[in-house]
């Protein structure tokens, strides 16, 4: 009864009642705990170590790739191409929805089986829904003289490696 009498007074004078204080304190604690749980959950669900294959592939000695050849490095998901201007590598992952494309040697194009995108050997789209050309990947020769490709590092188009 006493509290009921007090309430309108407190509201009128703009004072905060004990009940309101504790309600806000309780809600604040719940909000803090919720935010903490969300952060905890997000951190837990994001793996810190991934046991995925290395993005760097060793393609061996350059002289095994004759000029004009297109070689599929299946494990890395890369086309290693020895063009007239030198070596370069294209990602074999379709830029549409991530399917693995295939080199159709008889047609001289790269084709995706999922939704029919087609690319030429410069990675330029010639048909299908793919929104972007196939990315050019970083290629270099290591100290042992092996050709190396980094599938996680893209370079600008028309960057050739002369060996």
């Amino acid at each position: 009864m006493e509290e009921q009498k007090k309430k309108p007074e407190a509201a009128a004078t703009g004072e905060v009642t004990r009940r309101e204080t504790f309600q806000k304190l309780g809600l604040g604690c719940l909000a803090a705990a919720g935010a903490g749980a969300a952060a905890f959950g997000y951190e837990y669900l994001s793996p810190n170590v991934l046991y995925e294959p290395s993005p760097i592939a060793n393609a061996g000695k350059p002289d095994q790739y004759p000029s004009g050849s297109v070689t599929t490095l299946a494990e890395a998901g890369v086309y290693l191409i020895h063009g007239p201007q030198g070596f370069y590598a294209l990602s074999a992952t379709c830029t549409h929805l991530g399917c693995r494309t295939a080199w159709a040697a008889e047609l001289g194009i790269i084709a995706c089986p999922c939704h029919g995108s087609k690319f030429n050997t410069d990675g330029i789209k010639i048909a299908g829904p793919a929104p972007k050309p196939l990315p050019w990947l970083k290629v270099w020769v290591n100290d042992e003289g092996d050709l190396m490709v980094d599938t996680s590092a893209t370079v600008a188009e028309k960057q050739f490696l002369r060996v």
Partner: protein
């Protein structure tokens, strides 16, 4: 013979054990029938009384009930399948093939699970279309429509997560394509994809995450929302009210509390 059976059942209903389980008692009256529904945990989701018309097949085509039956079949076949299936990269595909060719009745359970899954997705869509074209989403049922949309999404996620588990080429590329569609969500798409797959590619973590979602999290969500869905049918005035009765109820401002 019939009389003896009746007496045996009658004597059973007299026992203390029976009466401790079924508190409403037994009798051939409307009150007893209503109590039998109202005092049962499972049956109390349903109304104690309903119009005979609402049970006609023309009203609902039983699409919601058929969806529930498909869900029961999926639970009943899915649990035995879990006993032979290991959600790991070296074993998943081989276990699926073992279920088809080595385990007794394994091919029956796997195929039943697969067909029931297709049927459930189809039935959910048909149910939604039926509710839409009959206007059964209108007030006071608008919240139950929302619950139904949640159940549609849960069904589709169950279907999608189950798609990966055979770990064959179809599964791998379907989930690759699906997760790449997800990554086109603005701003946080790639992050959502990373969390869902537990990595950058469809790999061991993705298989395990999809397995846990498929076998634990999504079925529990489905059961919870199915419970709310059925209970709301009763609370929102039952399956069917003929136009005349509904108009009369609206005129008198009658509030139905089921």
């Amino acid at each position: 013979m019939a009389a003896t059976k009746q007496d045996t059942l009658g004597r059973l209903r007299e026992t203390r054990v029976w009466q401790s389980v079924f508190r409403s008692g037994w009798g051939d009256s409307n009150l007893h029938r209503a109590l039998a529904v109202q005092q049962n945990l499972f049956l109390h989701l349903f109304p104690a009384k309903m119009r005979r018309r609402s049970l006609d097949i023309g009203v609902t085509w039983y699409l919601g009930t058929l969806t529930l039956v498909a869900f029961f079949i999926l639970v009943a076949t899915g649990i035995p399948l879990m006993l032979y299936y290991h959600p790991s990269v070296p074993q998943a595909y081989a276990d699926m093939k073992d279920l088809q060719f080595v385990v007794s009745a394994g091919v029956f359970l796997r195929n039943l699970h697969r067909w029931a899954a297709h049927a459930m997705v189809l039935l959910v869509f048909a149910h939604m279309a039926r509710v839409f074209y009959r206007g059964a989403y209108r007030p006071p049922r608008e919240f139950n429509w929302v619950v139904g949309v949640v159940l549609l999404l849960v069904t589709l996620f169950l279907s999608y997560t189950g798609y990966l588990l055979p770990w064959d080429q179809l599964a791998f590329w379907a989930i690759t394509v699906g997760s790449n569609i997800l990554s086109s969500v603005p701003v946080m798409g790639l992050k959502i994809r990373f969390l869902m797959l537990g990595g950058n590619t469809v790999n061991a973590n993705a298989l395990l995450r999809f397995y846990v979602l498929h076998c634990v999290i999504l079925p529990l969500a489905a059961v919870a929302f199915i419970g709310v869905h059925f209970w709301r049918i009763r609370k929102d005035g039952g399956l069917y009210r003929d136009g005349h009765a509904a108009a009369r109820a609206a005129e008198s401002g009658e509030q139905r509390h089921g």
